[in-house]
Amino acid sequence: MKILNDLCQIAKKDLLEFSRDRIRLATFIIMPIFMMLLTGYIFPNQNSLKNIPIGIANQNSEYGNQLVEAISNLELTANTKAFLVKNYSDIDAIKEAVKKQEINGGVYIPNNFSELIKTNQQAEVTIIEDQANPQISAVTSQVLSQVVNGFSQAIATQKAKAILVNKIPAGNQNPNLAASIIQPILTKIEGLFPGDTTYFEFVAPGIIAMIVMTAVLTGLAASISREKEQGTLDGILVSPISRLAIILGKALSQSIRGLIQGAIVMLLAVFLFGVHINGSIILVVLLLLLGVFSFVGLGILVSAIASEQETATQLLFMFQFPMLFLSGAFFPIQQMPKFMQIISRLIPLRYEIDALRKVIVLGAGVSAVRTELLVLIIFGAATLAIAVPLFKKMITR
C-alpha cells in the first residue's frame, strides 16, 4: 500500500506543479485545440468545398449556358455555393488567371459545343487544374467532372427518349427505359452508417491517439529529465521509497494529462466537427488507456537513457516523427509502398489508430479489435519489462 500512496503523492505533486505553470498549462490546452482546428478546417473534402474561385470561358450559348448555370448554382452545403464563378474570354485567359492565383481552376466550353451535341458528335469540355494546390485541385476537378458527367447523361437521356419514341409504341414504353439504356448499371454505395465519411473523420482517431502518445512519451521523458537537471529528483531519490513508485507516479500524472488532452480533442471532434462515435464510448476510453499503457514503457526507456531534457526531446522526435507518417494517422497505409506497410506493422501507434478508427467510425466491438488490443498489451508489457529495471539502474549509477 505504501507504494500506492507514494506514487499518488508524486502524481499529485506533478499535477499541482503543472497546474501552476501558466505557459505549460496554456500550451497543454491550446495545442490539441489548435491541432484539431487546423486539421478540421484545412483538409478539404467535398462537403467543405465552399466558394472556391474558378474561371469559366464559355464561347457557346445554348448548352454552354446551361452547363455554366449548373456549375454556378452547385451547392454541396446548404445555402453556400461550391464555386465563385468568374468569366473569361478563352482558355489562355483562364490559365493566366490560375498563374496569378486569382482562381483555383477553370472550365473551357468551346464555341462548337452545342452544335456538336446537336449533330450527334462528341463535344468536349476542358477542365483546367491549379497544380500549385494539388489537394484543392483534385477535389475541384472531381466535382467539376461530376457536374459535366451529370449534364452529359441528361442530354444522352433526352436523345435516347427521342429515338425510342419512334421505335416503341407509347403505351408499351417504360418511363425509365431511356435512362436504363444510357446507364444500365446504377452503383449503390452503402456504408455501415448513414451519411458520408469525411477525411476529418478518418483523421480524428489518428489525432486523438497521437495527442495521447505525445503527452505520455514527451511528457514523461521531459518531466523526469527536468527533475534530473534541476536536482529535485535527488530529493525524491533520497527518500525511503520504492524506485518503482517514482516511475509509476510520474507515469500516472502524464497519463492523466494525456487522457485530458485526448478528451479535449474528442469533445472538439464530436461537438465542433460532427464526428459520430458509432461504437461504444467505453471501448474508446479503454483503447486510450491501453494506448497510454503501451507508450509508458517507451517514455521511461528514453528518460533512463537521456540525462538531459534536450537529449530526451531529440530522441523522442526520432521515434515520433516516422510514427506520424507510418502509423496511418494522416495517410492510408494501403497506399504506401509494400516495405513501408511492413514497417508500419511494427509501430504500436498504428494498432491504436486502427482500433480507434474501427470503433469510432465503423462502430466495431471488442471482437473486431482483438488483435489490436493484444498487440498494445504485449508492446506495453515488453517495453515496461525492459524500461523499469533499466531506469532503476540508471538513476543510481
Binding site: 507514494d6 499541482l16 501552476r20 505553470d21 529535485t232 535527488d234 533520497v238 527518500s239 525511503p240 543510481t396
Partner: protein, 270 residues
C-alpha cells in the same frame, strides 16, 4: 564517541575516470565533519554514494549503522541532504514542498505541519510559507531547503556547499544554525570551498584530492603539520596538501578528451 559513518576502500569509477579512489575514513556521532577538496576532487561523488544516490564501484560504507548498498532505505530514513542544487519545486509553496517530501518520508500531514512550523520559524521563513518558492531569493530558498532536509529529524545532515552564493547575513545565519543543530546532537557532514567557514565550524576535517584522502584530522592537528608558516590557517593546510594549480572538473574532463591542456596558477592554459 561511536562512529556513525564508516567508509572502507570506497571507489567510484565512471568508465576510465576514477572519481573516488579507495577512500577510508570514519565520522563520529555528533561531530561536524568538514569534507573539503578542490573542484572535481571527488567530494560530491562521495556524498552521493553516502546518501545512496550513486552506487559505488567497489568498497563499502555504513551510514547510521546501515550498509549503503544493501540497506539503502534504512540509510535514507536516517539522513537529510542539502545538495549543491536546491531541492525545491519553484511552482509550489514552502508548505506544499514540505508536505510532498514529508509524505514521501512516511510522515503524516499533522506531523509535517508541526515540524514545518518549527523549522520555518527557526529559519525565519514562517511568514513566507504560502507563497510560491520561485519568487524567493537564493538565500530564502536555501533556508526552506534546509527545513526540507530536517523534516525527518535526521541523525546525520549532509550539507553540500550550503552557503554558496549567499549574502553575508544569510551565511552568518546558516552557520549559526548549523552550530545550534549540532549541539542538539545532529551529526553534520559539511562540504565547502570557504576555508574560514570550514575552520570555524568543523571538529574534524578530511581533504580529498584526485579521489584520494590527502589529509584527515582535527583542524589543529592538520595546522601543526604545515611547514614554513608561523601561524597557519586551514587554507594553508589545504593549499599545501592540494597544491596551487587551478583545477576544474569540466577542465579535467575536457582534458581527458582533448589532450594535456593544463591551467596554471596564473590562469593561463599551457
Amino acid at each position: 564517541m561511536a562512529d556513525i559513518i564508516k567508509v572502507k576502500n570506497l571507489t567510484k569509477k565512471f568508465k576510465s575516470l576514477v572519481a573516488v579512489d579507495s577512500i577510508s575514513f570514519q565520522v563520529k556521532k555528533g561531530e561536524i565533519f568538514g569534507f573539503l577538496g578542490p573542484n572535481g576532487a571527488g567530494k560530491s561523488t562521495t556524498i552521493r554514494m553516502l546518501t545512496t544516490l550513486t552506487r559505488p564501484t567497489s568498497g563499502s560504507a555504513e551510514v547510521a549503522g546501515y550498509d549503503i548498498v544493501k540497506q539503502p532505505d534504512e540509510v535514507r530514513s536516517h539522513i537529510g541532504l542539502v545538495a549543491e542544487k536546491i531541492i525545491l519545486y519553484d511552482h509550489l509553496t514552502p508548505s506544499e514542498n514540505l508536505q510532498f517530501f514529508g509524505r514521501l518520508n512516511g510522515l503524516t500531514v499533522e506531523e509535517i505541519n508541526k515540524r514545518a512550523d518549527k523549522w520555518l520559524k527557526r529559519l525565519k521563513m514562517e511568514e513566507w510559507k504560502n507563497l510560491q518558492v520561485g519568487t524567493f531569493s537564493t538565500g530564502m530558498k536555501q533556508r526552506i531547503n534546509i527545513a526540507r532536509a530536517l523534516l525527518t529529524e535526521p541523525d546525520i545532515l549532509f550539507l553540500d556547499e550550503p552557503t554558496l552564493g549567499l549574502d553575508p547575513q544569510t551565511t552568518y545565519m546558516i552557520k549559526t544554525f548549523i552550530t545550534e543543530l549540532n549541539k542538539q546532537g545532529v551529526t553534520i557532514i559539511l562540504t565547502t570551498h570557504d576555508m574560514y567557514e570550514a575552520e570555524a565550524l568543523s571538529d574534524r576535517v578530511a581533504i580529498i584530492d584526485h579521489g584520494k584522502i590527502v589529509a584527515l584530522g582535527t583542524v589543529e592537528e592538520l595546522k601543526k603539520k604545515v611547514k614554513n608558516k608561523k601561524s597557519p590557517t586551514l587554507e594553508d593546510v589545504f593549499l599545501e596538501k592540494t597544491g596551487f594549480e587551478v583545477r576544474d572538473k569540466i577542465g579535467k574532463m575536457a582534458a581527458m578528451h582533448r589532450g594535456p591542456h593544463r591551467i596554471t596558477q596564473n590562469n593561463r592554459v599551457r
